[in-house]
Amino acid sequence: MAKCFKRNMMVRGLALAAMVTVLLGGLCATPAAAANGMLKIGVLEEPKSLNLWLATDAWSKRVLSLINEPLFIREPKSNELVPWLAAGKPVYDAGKMTYTVKLKKAKWSDGSDFTAADVIFTGQLINKFRMPRHRSKWSFIERVVAVDKHTVRFELKRPKAIFLSRTLTTPIVQKKQWEKIVASAQGAEKPLTVILRHKLTNPIGTGPFVVSKWQKGVFVFMKANPHFFGRGQTISGHKLGPHIKGIIFKVYGTADAAILALRKGAIDFYWNSIQAGYLEQLKDDKDIKLFVSNKSGLYYLGFNLRKEPFDDVALRRAVATLVSKEFIIKRILQGYGEVLHSMIPPGNSFYYNPDVPKYGYGKSMDERMKLAYNILREAGYTWETPPVNANGEVVRGEGIRLPDGSPMKEFTILTPPADYDPHRAMSGQMIQEWLRAAGMPAVSRPMAFGALIQKVKGQHDFDAFILGYGKLSLDPGYLRAFFHSRYNKPRGYNMSGYESAAYDALSNESNNAMDPKLRQEMIFQMQAMLMAAVPYVPLYNPKVIEGVRIDRFTGWVPMLGGVGNIWSLCQIKAK
């Protein structure tokens, strides 16, 4: 009896403790962030590292972009580069091949002065240790010298077009914080590894925010940097703050949870593009505003030009004609995307060439089939059952044969799996169907992303693939890396194996062109050459859809890539 009584008491005690936990927890969790000027942002992952040189993931960059600032930054309306840590435009001396840049009298978050020595140190660190993802932007710099405490002169080994758009947009690190780390690396067997593995918990920056607390796996709290150089200033017409006390980046493991948190008011902004499937429920919420922005993306169908059947340009053009990008945008992206005709998205208006061939654009499926059939027939392809019959009617084609008379072997279109990117997986399925209708033995095969990259980029063991870049640089230098024969090697970015001496020469020339107008002409020509050869079929550039609560904060700044940007976070105010 006594034991029974004890057990009952224990059970009741446990139940009571659970209830107390819930009640107390509920009281503790009363949202108060808006009241004290804290902006809450939902993210899917926490930063991997606060060490700028190691952090390559998008989630780390969201945090670090608010700490380590570059000399120049893109302005939200025009996308032009404007002085940020720099005090004015760079002055170019063509004879000496030097750029002189005056610096703002800014301070680091620890209160010390930002000087030319910090810029020089950053450049030296990148070149000395061949810093991944930065070295290519600095390798052509002979040296950087301090003209005075707030003026630097860049001396170039050779002209390089990316200097303004890439070198001057490199985040600058504080010499004082990094020189000890560099000193310890210099004697090491693997010095780059020492730099990359340095655990940085308090990166000192010149940006609008600094990391105050990082609760691993749960949240990162950034408080406003009182020494931020832009505070109270008007830069390119934008009056900067920050006007909020801080930002809390909250980690949600899934988009479902983050969207619920946004609707419930647990966060003010979900910093990730929202899938179209969530939009209906969000549109009805009066406290949520959806921003639909363009981004600089390129999603494409790529061919392996190193082997049959895609070593034939006629076949590639026929495939480009059969692919209905309009259908993909309308049905798969549910309207949230734009058709791409070139390797450069139209949003990059200075470098986008609107006069490249637009294979099959605006045509019906029957018209496309007829066009593709003509291209292939003229190139010597034959069929057991042609897709266009003797009466000129479109029928289902079967048994396509190559110009040498041999049957076309089954080929595979590799795509990322649907759980990684449903758009690309579904696009692969649709393209398979369109090509089969023309009698081509196409098979769309979703594959784990790592395996796909290894096959396509590492081993060149593929027929065709669908991949994409979500955030291409506005500088079109990537056109050279994607299609120059120098990069046609395992791990190289020329995955299709396109080789053209004329293209190589033009892309080299464009790489060194310092005159923007001249470079623009070259980039136009490169796009025309590429769209004639069709190593890739550009498919679409998806829109960025972001959700923001408007009941607590105001002042979001839309720009290419979305409202999640430093301009927004420097300008938003509590209501």
């Binding site: 780059l192 749960v218 290894q454 190289g492």
Partner: protein, 323 residues
């Protein structure tokens, strides 16, 4: 008994060595490239090679294997490629969170499952048995992410009783005046929904195992004898039948406890619980060899030793078992 334990430990060492080798080979065969994210389009092949050398990925496979074995023998698991931190530190940051949630869930599910399993078997064929068995079958076969999202939607979003997901409230953990108990209560509050999900999914298996084992035991002669002696139902059920029905349940609970350090990638992802399960998935998907190898090895080690402990425990629970 000592001889048996020594023999089992020797087996564990051999199996561990085998697992070490298999893990090493598997991760090298897996497609993907750990440095691909650090390479930019315009990086020269020479700079890319320099990066590979600096990360030690250019060494011949046999040499990497020897370094791996040597590091393991000295308790050194290397550095995570993506975090740039010692693997042990990355695991240690997340492991307590996983143990807290999953071990609590296993113990709670086992306690309730075993108690209800006893009752269900005792009342075989009656309403209580049918109700509990159906409830166990239904909850045990639910799809975990669906149940988790349903609970979040009802209790966190619609009723607003609990936080959407996460492990702590930033208001509490940023408050300099919040003491240990305030933080502990906050963690407990965040744990309710993930714990409820895991409990609902798992208690059914313990209930069914215990019920089935009890039904076998209730057919034994000593139970008939106990009834003939006029003992109360409660005494027969709890003192004579249940202890003899424990063996299969002990195995189940023991292994579940061991596997609980593995966490559950799905549960941790849906509830944004910063545990080892999510880390493991990240390490495998990003080809972070050192982190993935160490995580799997940790799981394998704990499971192997738990097996030994369960086997030894058998001898204590059932005097008929002798080693």
């Amino acid at each position: 008994m000592r001889k048996y334990i020594a023999k089992r430990l020797a087996q564990v060492v051999v199996i561990l060595f085998f697992i070490l080798t298999v893990l090493f080979v598997l991760f090298r065969l897996a497609p993907g490239d750990p440095v691909s994210r650090m390479v930019d389009p315009e990086m020269t092949p020479e700079d890319a090679q320099h990066l590979i050398e600096q990360l030690g990925l250019d060494e011949p496979i046999w040499k990497q294997y020897l370094i791996y074995l040597k590091n393991f023998a000295s308790g050194e698991f290397g550095y995570s490629i993506h975090y740039g931190e010692p693997v042990a530190r990355v695991i240690w940051d997340k492991l307590p969170n996983t143990i807290l949630l999953f071990t609590t869930a296993v113990l709670l599910s086992a306690m309730v499952g075993i108690s209800w399993g006893k009752i269900a078997a005792w009342k075989k064929g009656k309403g209580a048995d049918i109700g509990m068995t159906i409830a166990a079958l239904v909850t045990h076969t639910l799809f975990l992410p669906w149940l988790a999202l349903l609970l979040v939607w009802v209790f966190a979003y619609q009723l607003d009783w609990f936080p959407i997901t996460g492990m702590v409230s930033e208001e509490v953990f940023l408050d300099p005046d919040a003491g240990f108990w305030a933080k502990a209560v906050d963690v407990g509050y965040h744990m309710v929904l993930p714990l409820a999900t895991l409990f609902l999914i798992h208690f059914g298996s313990y209930l069914l195992v215990m019920r089935s084992s009890m039904l076998e035991t209730l057919k034994e002669d000593y139970i008939v004898l106990a009834r003939a002696k006029g003992l109360s139902d409660r005494a027969i059920r709890n003192k004579h039948a249940a202890p003899n029905a424990w063996l299969p349940v002990v195995t189940s609970v023991g292994l579940s406890l061991a596997f609980s350090i593995n966490g559950g990638a799905l549960t941790e992802t849906v509830f944004s619980w910063p545990g080892i399960g999510r880390e493991l998935v990240f390490a495998v998907s990003q080809n972070d060899y050192p982190l993935a190898q160490a995580s799997f090895l940790l799981i394998a080690t704990v499971v192997l030793f738990s097996n030994v402990v369960v086997d030894v425990l058998y001898a204590f629970l059932d005097p008929r078992i002798r080693y």
